[in-house]
C-alpha cells in the first residue's frame, strides 16, 4: 500500500505520510499560502507535479524530481491568438485564455516525458518533454461539437478527467464538464464522442440524451480492466463495461446519486467508491453525515460506509479530484472543502481522520 499522499489545498501542498501502524502525519508543506489546485505523482519516473492557481498571476506548473524537497517552475499550456471559447449556453464568444489546469496525467510507460493536461476552457494539451513545452491538441479543439459544450460550475467548459489506456497509451478518453466523453484510439489524431447512454436531467427533454451536453463530474478507468469506466455525473452515476457499449445509469446509490468524486478499484472493475452529497444547488452531505458509498458488485448494490466518518453536523463537500485509491486497492483517502482528510487501509470499512485542520482540499493523490 502507498504510504505517501499528496494533498492539494487552497493554501498549499501537503505531503502526508504514514507514521507507525495506524497514524498519519504531515511530513512536508510546500507553497504555503498558495492555491494548489492539483498534484500528480508520475509513476514512470517518480516526478511530482503541482498546479498552482495563483489568483493574481495565473496558473503555474511546478515539478519536483526529489519528492518535493525542491521544486522548479515549468511551462504552462497556452492558447494562441484567435482561439475562441464558443459555448452552447448562449454566452458570447470570448478569446480563449488559460483559466485553470484542471487535470494532469502521465502518458503511457512507452511514452517517457509525455504528459496530458486538461484545461478550462476545454483544451487538451500534450507535452513530450515533461512539461517544458505544451501543444494544444487541435484535433479535439477543432471538433465542431465543441461549440455546444458549456461550463458546469465554471463559466467555461473544462476537461477534468483524462484516462490513458494502460494496454495501449494511444487509446485515451477525456471527460468534459459539460461536453460528455471524448475518445481517441490513435494518440489524439482523431476523436469521437463516447458518452452515449448518459442522461442529462438538466436539459430540455429532447436534448437529454445528447452525449455532447453531458455534465460528467469525474470519470475513472479500471487499470486492470481498462474497458470498464465509472463516471460521477451531475445527475447520476454511470458505468460502462465494454469498449463499444453505452453507459448504464446506476440509480440505487444511497444516500444520493449526486456528488463529484469517484474512484475505482485498480483490478476489480466492479468495486467503486463515491462520496454522495445533497443535490444539486445545496452541495452538502445528506443529513449532515459524511459517508462513502461503495459497490462491490458493479453497482447492483451499495454499502454506506460510516465508521470513522463524522455523522453529525458535518458540512464537508468532496470535490472531484479529492478522492483517491492507491495501487493496492485497499488504501483510500479523501479530503473535503472544510479541510477534513480521511484515510482508510481496508477498502473503506474504517476511516481515520488526519489530526489537522487543513485548508479546503481540492485534490488528493497517492505517490508511490
Amino acid at each position: 500500500m502507498s504510504d505517501t499522499l499528496l494533498v492539494s489545498t487552497r493554501k498549499g501542498l501537503f505531503t502526508v505520510e504514514r507514521d507507525g501502524e495506524v497514524g498519519w502525519r504531515i511530513a512536508a508543506r510546500a507553497f504555503l499560502g498558495d492555491n494548489v489546485a492539483l498534484a500528480l505523482a508520475d509513476p514512470r519516473d517518480g516526478s511530482w507535479y503541482a498546479v498552482l492557481d495563483l489568483g493574481h498571476f495565473g496558473n503555474k506548473l511546478q515539478r519536483s524530481s526529489d519528492r518535493g524537497a525542491t521544486w522548479n517552475e515549468i511551462a504552462v499550456p497556452a492558447f494562441a491568438p484567435g482561439d475562441e471559447v464558443i459555448t452552447g449556453d448562449g454566452k458570447p464568444p470570448v478569446p480563449a485564455k488559460l483559466r485553470l489546469i484542471w487535470s494532469l496525467e502521465a502518458g503511457g510507460a512507452s511514452q517517457p516525458g509525455r504528459l496530458w493536461a486538461g484545461t478550462i476552457p476545454g483544451g487538451l494539451f500534450r507535452s513530450d518533454d515533461s512539461g517544458a513545452s505544451w501543444q494544444l491538441v487541435r484535433t479535439l479543439w477543432d471538433v465542431p461539437e465543441r461549440n455546444q459544450w458549456f461550463g458546469g460550475g465554471f463559466d467555461q467548459p473544462g476537461i477534468h478527467s483524462i484516462c490513458v489506456d494502460p494496454r495501449d497509451a494511444r487509446r485515451m478518453s477525456v471527460a468534459i464538464s459539460s461536453g460528455g466523453v471524448w475518445r481517441s484510439d490513435d494518440d489524439g489524431a482523431s476523436w469521437r464522442q463516447d458518452a452515449h447512454g448518459m442522461r442529462a436531467a438538466y436539459m430540455p427533454a429532447e436534448r437529454s440524451r445528447d452525449p455532447n451536453v453531458q455534465d460528467v463530474h469525474h470519470m475513472v478507468q479500471c487499470t486492470g480492466s481498462p474497458d470498464a469506466f465509472w463516471a460521477q455525473h451531475h445527475n447520476g452515476i454511470f458505468r460502462r463495461v465494454a469498449s463499444q457499449a453505452e453507459w448504464t445509469e446506476i440509480d440505487n446509490v444511497p444516500p444520493s446519486v449526486f456528488g463529484f468524486a469517484v474512484a475505482v478499484h485498480p483490478r476489480d472493475a466492479d468495486t467503486a467508491w463515491f462520496v454522495p452529497a445533497t443535490k444539486d444547488e445545496r452541495r452538502i452531505p445528506v443529513d449532515g453525515k459524511v459517508v462513502v458509498a461503495r459497490t462491490r458488485d458493479g453497482g447492483r448494490s451499495f454499502e454506506t460506509l460510516t465508521r470513522g466518518l463524522p455523522q453529525q453536523d458535518a458540512y464537508d463537500l468532496v470535490y472531484r479530484h479529492a478522492l483517491a485509491v492507491d495501487r493496492s486497492g485497499d488504501r483510500l483517502a479523501f479530503g473535503s472543502t472544510t479541510g477534513g482528510l480521511w484515510i482508510s487501509g481496508d477498502g473503506g470499512n474504517r476511516w481515520a481522520q488526519l489530526d489537522a485542520r487543513l485548508p479546503p482540499v481540492y485534490a488528493v493523490t497517492f505517490a508511490g
Partner: protein
C-alpha cells in the same frame, strides 16, 4: 533611465532576483517606452512574463501597472512613452486577493 519596481508578491517567484529589505525588486533600465522596459525585464527573468501578461500579451486582469503614479487603463497597449526618471510599479491588484 526608468526605475521599475516589482512588488514582493511577484518578486518571490523570480529565482535569483535581487530583492530589497521588504522583498521587492527595484531595477534601473534604459528605455523610453513601457513595453521595452517590460521586455528587458522579461529577458532578465524569463518566467516573469507569464506572471504579468497573459498568453495574448495583455496585462493580467488582476495585475496593476502604475506609471508615474497612475494605473495604466488599456492593458493591451503597452507602447506608452516614458520620461527620464519614470517610475513603474508592477503589483498585484487587490481585486484578485
Amino acid at each position: 533611465m526608468a526605475r521599475i519596481i516589482l512588488a514582493p508578491a511577484l518578486a518571490r517567484w523570480l529565482p535569483g532576483a535581487p530583492t530589497g529589505v521588504s522583498g521587492e525588486v527595484a531595477l534601473e533600465l534604459h528605455s523610453d517606452r513601457l513595453d521595452h522596459v517590460l521586455e528587458a525585464l522579461f529577458a532578465r527573468f524569463p518566467n516573469l512574463r507569464g506572471y504579468v501578461l497573459d498568453e495574448h500579451g495583455e496585462v493580467r486582469h488582476h495585475v496593476a501597472i502604475f506609471l508615474d503614479g497612475n494605473a495604466i487603463t488599456d492593458k493591451s497597449r503597452l507602447d506608452q512613452p516614458l520620461r527620464d526618471g519614470s517610475e513603474i510599479y508592477v503589483m498585484q491588484a487587490l481585486s484578485g486577493g
